[in-house]
């Protein structure tokens, strides 16, 4: 085994050992049990760094590692598992192990007094293990395997405080919604497998290049969209996005790690991986879904009052960006946004956690158990009390809003250029994509600054709470500082430092992607290049507009928000956003309730009607017949035969009706007599 394979194995399984340790020996070290997990994540981070430095090895063009081993084989049917590591893999590994490490560190303070402290770290370990599995997979089937396992860890962590009914509901909803997407992914995988004969992603790409779907590209389109359905579930894209806001029931560090930075990005990562064999038709579906999600979720985020709900919808919206980017062929931009978003969104969530933590402690101090520590309506003016949190959150907000010098500006700009260029190629309705992109960019700037102003600026809404708020401890603020630094543009553009130009080590490492199913990747990238300037100008304008309007509303309070709200609500706009476009209600009324009704009906049909009436009815009929025939035939049929059959049937009926235990030996005796009779009859043949 060479070093790369060994390191890959270690990166995969070390977090699993952390899981096992915390599960079985978690009580041993008491409140210090996190040291084990933290240490293990530190090693994983170091190993990932080891891979990371290989990015700068310019001689390296192909994958660093591509190994497979047989999992099992029936002879003609073999399943293999294996690793595939290229530069995209490495960057993703780096993102996950870094944020996982920081969240572990942060959690040592955030979860300090939780009675299930060790279990929490166990689940985090399980998550990191499964997530690394997805990243390292070289085949769709292995990805699917770990795909479901991250679903499990997500389920466990959303439901971590399972005594709350809302958490118990949310974890179930998350798992089931994801399974809807997974079914599509599974069917799509099979469609591809039975054409090309492999689950290996490279193998599929190779086969597609060699024309395995020649003349049947429609099948590949369908299969591609089906596999992509998995990403729709995992990355919370419309119409399966409904689980992610509910997932905020989990502890906030979990929201940062799993439901913002990494797991939800797994869908995007998977789409990046299968990008080479997504046909232009399939990619169009991808782009539209991404566009709808990006804009729709941003519109919902405007009216949310829960600080985590705003960030949840923001996450959905930003994931929509990434998906839309891949859909329009902007491969590099999509993956770039995944990485920059992971940093600034993890930062935002951890900052919100820091705020919630502080609010919670203040409320605890006041003995107040009714006020919601997550409601921005109770905050305000926290800037002076929590300067580190404030600064970090402001930096991350600038990044997500697309302000120059911050990472989000570069990645978002590249995506917007992609949508513009897509419109330039296809015209017509595809103008929806740039509209969704720029529209969402403006709305994002607006609602993110709304969050900042409502939380940190102005006068405290509840001075008595504000009084007892304190900055969080170092274990929590240190990750914030690291992540906010990583939200700076220059981190991704070194060695060059022009804030308006995204061409640095990242772009160089990721490249423009390749395509095997009919997309002219060079044409796409030329288009992006040409649209780049326009996109940048427009995006600067919309971001400025968003921030400006937001500050007029919430910082300077020149506009009366309540009045404006009631005007907008004349045509229901405010309610529409506040109620998340009623999508949950629609699903509930059109899918969930009718299905539950059907399932009850099925149970009634199966038991009360089919079994009790029809099946048992046979017993009743048999008994009736036997009684009648016994009465009529007793005297003139051979007594023994009639007796035998009559008694048999009589028992049959009686047993069913009166439910008494019978003399079963007689049946067996009857069976044996019958057997002899039948043997005798058959011997005539």
């Amino acid at each position: 085994m060479d070093n790369s394979t060994l390191f890959a194995l270690l990166i995969l399984f070390l977090p699993f050992t952390a899981f096992l340790y915390q599960l079985f020996f978690g009580k041993k070290l008491g409140a210090q049990t996190h040291l084990v997990s933290l240490g293990i994540m530190g090693i994983v981070l170091a190993l990932s760094l080891g891979f990371f430095f290989q990015l700068f090895n310019h001689d390296l063009t192909g994958p660093i590692l591509d190994v497979s081993g047989e999992w099992f084989s029936t002879g003609a049917f073999t399943l293999e598992l294996g690793f595939y590591i290229d530069k995209v893999t490495i960057i993703m590994l780096m993102v996950v192990s870094l944020i996982s490490f920081l969240v572990h560190l942060y959690s040592t303070a955030y979860m300090k007094d939780d009675p299930r402290y060790s279990r929490y770290f166990a689940f985090l370990g399980l998550f990191t293990f499964s997530m690394n599995g997805i990243i390292l997979s070289n085949s769709l089937i292995m990805m699917y395997l770990f795909w479901e396992l991250v679903g499990l860890s997500s389920y466990l962590l959303i439901g971590f405080w399972f005594e709350k009914n809302s958490a118990a509901n949310a974890c179930k909803k998350a798992f089931l919604t994801n399974r809807v997407g997974d079914i599509g992914m599974f069917i799509g995988m099979l469609l591809i497998f039975f054409t090309v004969g492999t689950f290996s992603i490279n193998g599929i790409t190779g086969a597609v290049t060699n024309g395995a779907f020649e003349g049947n590209m429609q099948l590949l389109s369908i299969a591609g969209v089906l596999v992509f359905m998995g990403a729709v579930g995992k990355s919370a894209q419309f119409p399966l996005h409904i689980w992610l806001p509910d997932a905020m029931e989990g502890p906030t560090p979990v929201s940062a790690l799993i439901h913002a930075a990494t797991m939800v990005a797994a869908g995007v990562y998977m789409t990046v991986r299968i990008f080479p064999f997504l046909t232009p038709d399939a990619l169009q579906v991808v782009a539209v879904i991404g566009g709808i999600t990006a804009l729709g979720a941003a519109l919902i985020a405007i009216t949310q009052m829960d600080i985590k709900a705003v960030l949840a919808y923001s996450t959905i919206s930003q994931l929509g960006y990434m998906i839309m980017a891949l859909g329009v062929g902007a491969y590099q931009a999509g993956f770039f946004h995944l990485v920059t978003h992971a940093m600034f969104k993890a930062c935002l969530f951890l900052c919100s956690g820091s705020v919630i933590h502080a609010m919670h402690h203040s409320l605890h101090h006041l003995g107040d158990h009714h006020t919601d520590p997550q409601d921005m309506g109770n905050m305000g003016g926290l800037k002076s009390k929590m300067p580190i949190t404030y600064t970090a959150m402001l930096i991350a907000t600038l990044a997500i809003s697309g302000v120059p010098f911050f990472s989000g500006f570069l990645s978002k700009d590249a995506i917007l250029a992609g949508t513009l260029s897509y419109y330039h190629t296809y015209h017509g309705w595809t103008i929806f994509l740039p509209i969704a992109g720029f529209g969402a960019a403006m709305v994002t700037a607006f609602y993110m600054f709304r969050l900042i102003f409502k939380t940190f600026h102005g006068k405290p809404v509840k001075p008595e709470i504000h009084e007892h708020v304190h900055e969080s401890p170092l274990a929590m603020t240190a990750p914030l500082i690291v992540l906010s630094v990583l939200s700076l543009a220059v981190v991704f553009t070194l060695p060059q430092i022009n804030p308006l130009d995204g061409h640095g080590w990242f772009a160089h490492a990721v490249g423009n992607g390749a395509h095997a199913a009919g997309l002219d990747i060079k044409h796409v990238n030329d288009g992006i290049h040409h649209a780049h300037h326009d996109a940048m100008n427009i995006s600067l304008i919309v971001a400025t507009l968003g921030i400006l309007v937001s500050s007029l509303f919430y910082l300077f309070k020149i506009v009366n928000v309540e009045k404006l709200t009631s005007i907008l609500n004349l045509i229901g706009l405010y309610s529409l956003s506040k109620n998340k476009f009623y999508i949950d209600a629609i699903y509930n009324a059109l899918l969930y309730k009718p299905f539950m009704w059907f399932s009850k009906l099925a149970s009634t049909i199966d038991w009360d009607i089919y079994d009790q009436k029809i099946v048992d009815g046979w017993g009743w009929i048999t008994m009736k017949i036997s009684v009648k025939s016994q009465e009529a035939d007793y005297n003139w049929l051979d007594q023994k035969i009639v007796d035998g059959f009559g008694r048999f049937a009589n028992y049959f009926g009686n047993e069913l009706r009166t439910t008494q235990s019978g003399v079963v030996q007689n049946y067996l005796m009857g069976g044996i007599v019958g057997l002899v009779a039948i043997i005798l009859i058959f011997q005539q043949f």
């Binding site: 003609a76 499990l152 399972f162 709350k164 009914n165 149970s603 017993g619």
Partner: protein, 523 residues
Amino acid sequence: MDSMILTLLIFLPVFGAVAMLPAAKIVGKDNPNIFKWIALVITGLQLLLAVVLYMGFDSTLSVSTSPYTVQLDWIKHFNIQYFVGVDGLSMPMVLLTALLSFLSIGISWNITKQPLGYFALFLLLDAGMMGVFLSLDFFLFYVFWEVMLLPMYFLIGMWGGPQRHYAAIKFFLFTLFGSVLMLLGMLALYFYSDPHTFNLITLIQTASSIDATLWGMDMRYLIWFALFIGFAIKVPVFPFHTWLPLAHVEAPTAISVILAGVLLKMGTYGLLRISYPLLPGEVINFAYILAFLGVINILWGAVNAIAQIDMKKMIAYSSVSHMGYVLLGMAAVVSTNDGGAQAGLNGAVMQMFNHGTITAMLFMLVGVIYEKAHHRYIFYPDDYKDPALAGKPGFGGIGAQMPVFTAFVAFAFFAGLGLPALSGFISEALCFIGGFSVFRTLTIIGTLGILLNAVYFLRAYQHVFLGPLNEKYKDYTDMSTMDLAIVVPLAVIVLFLGVYPAPLVDMIAPSLDALIQIIQSAF
């Protein structure tokens, strides 16, 4: 020794049952514990024998070359033989039977009502099951099939729940109805084949040349049909499934474990052992219907499970659903894609084994909570005797009170809903892969089961284990050491075969290859 081992596997429990009679005389009334100890030792020895058999088992040998095969004349006049042997199809079933029988004695440890009867009947049941899986003579197979029926009847009817008599007679009549048809099929095979024989290996050569009609219908088709109904009731295939929920709800925990873990597999085992190799042409004609029934089972079982408020009934319907995967995988034997046929058939047999271990865990765990709470309601029924409880959750928040128990339930539930890295996933996936290679639309509809199976397990898990703790249960203690001793081996197997299914595949694949060969050459 080699040639004795199969016979010992079958008759050791009979010996144990018989030995209980003098034991009753000697230590008798003062010490009723003697019976369960005898049963434990006997089933323990049987398990040991099964493991020894597995150690020496060579999956590449056919029964005619295997050193374990025993073939002796029994009723010479009718050419009936004592013919037992083991191959890749029966090996996992033998292991499963031995394991679950042994663990079931542990589950039955607290039986106080007439222990002599209970454990003696249990051992007879064990012998019958082992006999079914090892017989290679149809007549012998049939005898064991019937032998098993009677103890099962009494075990449900005497040691079961409130409706035990009704459940027992229903189980018995359903199965007897199937047995009659199977008997007819068997006799027809005997009389129409030349030479007249019950030998299942010989019949592979001769049965397919049966050329006769009865009432204008093809004889082979009639035989297939008769055997199919006989086996289908055991599986149970929709619409013959309604005995199962009732029998499960009423049966004591250990019997539910055996019923779902082993008995259901006899149906699909019978199809694979007898119908498949003997009537390959009919398999090909019938495959689509088989796949269709499989998908119906998957969906109908799951939809019904979602509506259940009794955990045992829910698991019973989940068995209906999970056995549907087996049918779908089996039907894929007609796949013209060689890998497809192999995936399907291997998936089916793996699913038989994996469902056995998973469902045994499920029933065992429900038994644990039932012993404490004396009910199994996810929700109390709307017409519950105590109107204050009607329609309310039966439990709630147990997760905080019994963390170890909850962890195992979560493990078993997730195994049941096909989570990767647990054994159910790979067998279900293979059944789908196989099914997909032939019955594309049908299989796509069937994959809905992936979602539906998750719905009822997670729903039950939420309402029983999550949420605020129901105060009624705040004194409950966690699992006992005995409970752990039973559930841990099953969990280890489920996890091991989920992560590394190769040992199971290697055990079964060569025999299934031969079977595929037989079917495919009938095209």
